[in-house]
Amino acid sequence: MAHGPAEGITRWLYTTNHKDIGTLYLWFSFAMFLTGGFFAMVIRAELFQPGVQLVQPEFFIQMTTMHGLVMVFGAIMPAFVGLANWMIPMMIGAPDMALPRMNNLSFWILPFAFAILISTLFMEGGGPNFGWTFYAPLSTTYAPDSVNYFIFAVHIMGASSIMGSINIIATVMNMRAPGMTYMKMPLFVWTWLITAFLLVAVMPVLAGAVTMMLMDINFGTSFFNAAGGGDPVLFQHVFWFFGHPEVYIIILPAFGVVSQIIPTFSRKPLFGYSSMVYATAAIAFLSFVVWAHHMFTVGMPIAGELYFMYATMLIAVPTGVKVFNWITTMYRGAITYETPMLFCIAFVILFTFGGFTGLMLSVAAADIQYHDTYFVVAHFHYVMVAGAVFSGTAAVYYWLPKWCGRMYDETMGKVQFWLAFIAFNITFMPQHFLGLAGMPRRYADYGLQFADWNMVSSVGAFLYGGAQILFLYNVVRTIMYGEPVKEAKVWEGAEGLEWLVPTPAPYHTFIRPPVVTSSAAGEDEWSISGATPHVAFKAAPGAG
């Protein structure tokens, strides 16, 4: 076991190593990000001007649908699972993930699932054309045949997510090094533990939703058909019971990443560690009870509407706690602005902005005007692109030296940041205005009054796409020719077990578990015995 990786392609196909699997996840998700981004480019190119130019409306909605599905399920979720695979065992002092073979299975399902999903675009009648929320009956009675492929692809994708999350839960609950109590775990581990719990809870509900669709389409049931006594709106309830927690599944690991990076570059321990943990748990809990805020216009009874409005507004409280903790972590620190930090600061600002629009959306009476307009599109790109994607980018820059033992090019990183930051805002800020002025989403064509801002948004989108190409280039260049780094602690202010192991991280990290002890002064210390010599350092702040 103490040997390195196998040679050749079987290393990747047969691997049980958490780092290899993490790498696979990350590359897969990046490929999906480019694919989903490419679909977005088609959308933005078509919307560059009013009229139908590049693609037919029928194909346009397939692009919108696929863009949403690929980005959410193919890009963002696997990206964070990849980070979890790489970092969680290193952060808690585990030799590997708890169930390594299942770990590999979870990954390899994904390429099959997405191959099936994307292949539907080439089938007769076209691919899924009902939005990533696939509301019945557009997705059942009125869907092209390829919807069946979509359904089964979602099924196995869900199985992959469930297995992946069970693995993470088992790892965190069972594989922590001696002395690594729950309240000493790095925040990234905490947020992932809670995310994994959310995933295990809601992916089966998604499976239930697509199963109901399958039955309605092929076996004559009437879940979503009022003629038989069902209701199309039932679909929306089931979907959003999954769908709303899903958006927090996307953002919680991002919170974790930011909570690792901001203390490092502020050279100061994370402020309010325990309140961060409680806030994360509170957000997760609340996410189960707010789902119908996506359905303010379906004609729910007013009591339901009021309840979902209040519950949704409440989420601002724990989220606010997080934002304030991050800023206070920076307060009286000694801040430097390396690329990961820049992305995290942008995250805090833009995510909060997106949170504010979220709060506006939660006001049901106003949501009547916002719902299904570009205002919503703007909201969720602020939280998902400037939230999840920015923090993912930050994480890659932050941990890349540890992974491959080479430093990225700081200047290029900064250029990419500024390009991404500016282009992002040019793309999505105008979408708020479009939405307020009345442009509905999922429109292949629009009235002339929306032309100007759409053009601006498209230009921004192309620039933003360019920033991603630069990112890809920078990463590949680093892996191949980057400046070698030797010291274990790559960043001056970094704390945590992962910064104690050598750089690049050895193929197997902890052959003997490290031990966490308390020093005389009451400060926590880690020591690693076994593969690496004894080291000691201060533990996660506020811990114990």
């Binding site: 009229g51 139908v52 130019q53 037919q56 409306p57 029928e58 346009f60 909605i61 007769e124 054309n129 009902f130 009956p137 557009l138 009125y142 092209p144 009022a226 209701d231 199309p232 709106v233 502020s266 050279r267 402020f271 309010g272 309140s275 216009t297 004609g299 509407e305 409005m309 209040y310 507004m313 409280v317 706690v321 920076m330 307060y331 009286r332 620190g333 000694a334 801040i335 805090v348 600002i349 909060t352 902005f353 506006m360 006001v363 009476a365 106003a366 009547i368 005007q369 299904d372 307009t373 205005f433 002025a437 509905p440 064509d445 629009y446 009235g447 009054q449 929306f450 100007d452 702040p541």
Partner: protein, 384 residues
């Protein structure tokens, strides 16, 4: 084009900082301009309360943002390592942590009050003066004045040539219909909204009305419009490829005009009923049929009648189209269950149905030759 994009781009950069919100009421010119930033205030009570809570929320968020980001920028400036500061080492403070939990919670309670009263307004659908049933079809709207026996379809008038850029786009591009919904001013109108096939959503921003049109169930909304005029809206729930092409136009008339219009509509219907027995000629039917086909059928079966393989069958050469007339009438009257081929019995008049059937049977490569008369359609309907 490129030049315009560039100009736009520059002006937008300079604009972002300077334009204040609330520039509603601007007449959207070609291109809409870059000053069209906010939600319209609208012309009903509901749209106004929606606007008010929207503005309130926005200003509260702006204020919080200024404080939070202001502090953050200060920290980012003052506590840079390059200024030679030493990092402190504190990481907890119960007092501030409680404060920043409690204060936002109080702010939220403060927000919830106007939000609740606004919502109560939205739901106040009782005691309406008249009821309009709104039905969403792929991809058009049907309006029925309940209790008056009047119903009509409202379809987009913008031509496919304008959409695909073979003709210049008109001023009302995608915002024009053959027959707007007509309602009286200063009356409480209740909309009962439903769908025929998939879910649509009926949105008129100026009324503050957006309600999903769910097949098989009603949702209710209301409006008392204070100013006569033309109001435009859109379908806001993805309903298939024609989703952007089913605009809503509402014409709000003074009460007398409305009553006149209603009487006219009723007369029209009576007149129609009396002429239905007339024998139509081949030419009359062909020209009428072509019009109907273009508006009602071409969206799916395509102008050339060849459909889209895998979704919409070709009518050109179809055995149903060329078969006995009754089978063909049946498809139009009853639709084909479980597909987007809907029943046209309520949407098209007997004349229209006869005409479009006759047209299809005698155009493209189809040539059946016989004549289908409106009376045949009526007989078919009554026989059922």
């Amino acid at each position: 084009m490129l030049k315009r994009a560039l100009a736009l781009f520059l002006s937008c950069l300079s604009l972002m900082g300077t334009t204040s919100l609330g520039a509603d009421g601007d007449d959207p010119s070609m291109g809409g301009g870059l000053t069209n930033l906010n939600m319209p205030k609208g012309v009903t009570e509901v749209s106004q309360v929606a606007y008010d809570v929207h503005m309130l929320m926005m200003w509260i968020c702006t204020a919080i943002g200024v404080v939070v980001f202001g502090f953050m920028f200060y920290v980012m400036y003052a506590h840079r390592k390059s200024r030679g500061v030493e990092a402190a080492n504190f990481h907890e403070h119960l007092g501030v942590e409680i404060a920043w939990t409690v204060v936002p919670a109080l702010i939220l309670i403060f927000m919830a009050i106007p939000a609740t009263s606004a919502l109560l307004k939205v739901y106040d659908t009782e005691n309406a003066d008249l009821d309009i049933k709104v039905t969403g079809y792929q991809w058009k709207w049907q309006y029925e004045h309940l209790g008056e026996g009047i119903k009509y379809m409202s379809e987009m008038r913008t031509s496919i040539d304008e959409i695909e850029g073979r003709e210049p786009k008109g001023e009302h591009y995608l915002r024009e219909v053959n027959q707007p919904l007509v309602i009286p001013v200063n009356k409480k109108v209740r909309f009962l909204i439903t769908g025929n096939d998939v879910i649509h959503s009926w949105w008129v921003p100026d009324f503050g009305v957006k309600r999903d049109a769910v097949p098989g169930l009603f949702t209710a909304a209301w409006a008392r419009v204070e100013e006569p005029g033309l109001y435009v809206g859109e379908c806001t729930e993805l309903c298939g490829k024609g989703h952007p092409f089913m605009p809503i136009v509402v014409e709000v008339k003074e009460e007398d005009d409305y009553n006149l219009w209603l009487a006219g509509k009723k007369e029209e219907a009576a007149l129609y009923a009396s002429t239905i027995g007339k024998q139509w000629s081949h030419e009359e039917l062909m020209s009428k049929g072509e019009d109907v086909y273009k508006i009602s059928c071409a969206g799916c079966h395509q102008a050339d009648g060849n459909g889209i393989s895998g979704i919409f069958p070709a009518l050109n050469g179809s055995s149903i189209v060329q078969g006995p007339a009754d089978g063909h009438i049946a498809v139009l009257i009853n639709g084909i269950a479980g597909s987007s081929m809907q029943s046209f019995a309520d949407q098209l008049s007997e004349v229209d149905i006869a005409a479009v059937i006759h047209y299809k049977r005698n155009t493209w490569d189809n040539s059946v030759g016989d004549i289908v008369q409106p009376i045949d359609v009526l007989n078919f309907k009554t026989a059922q």
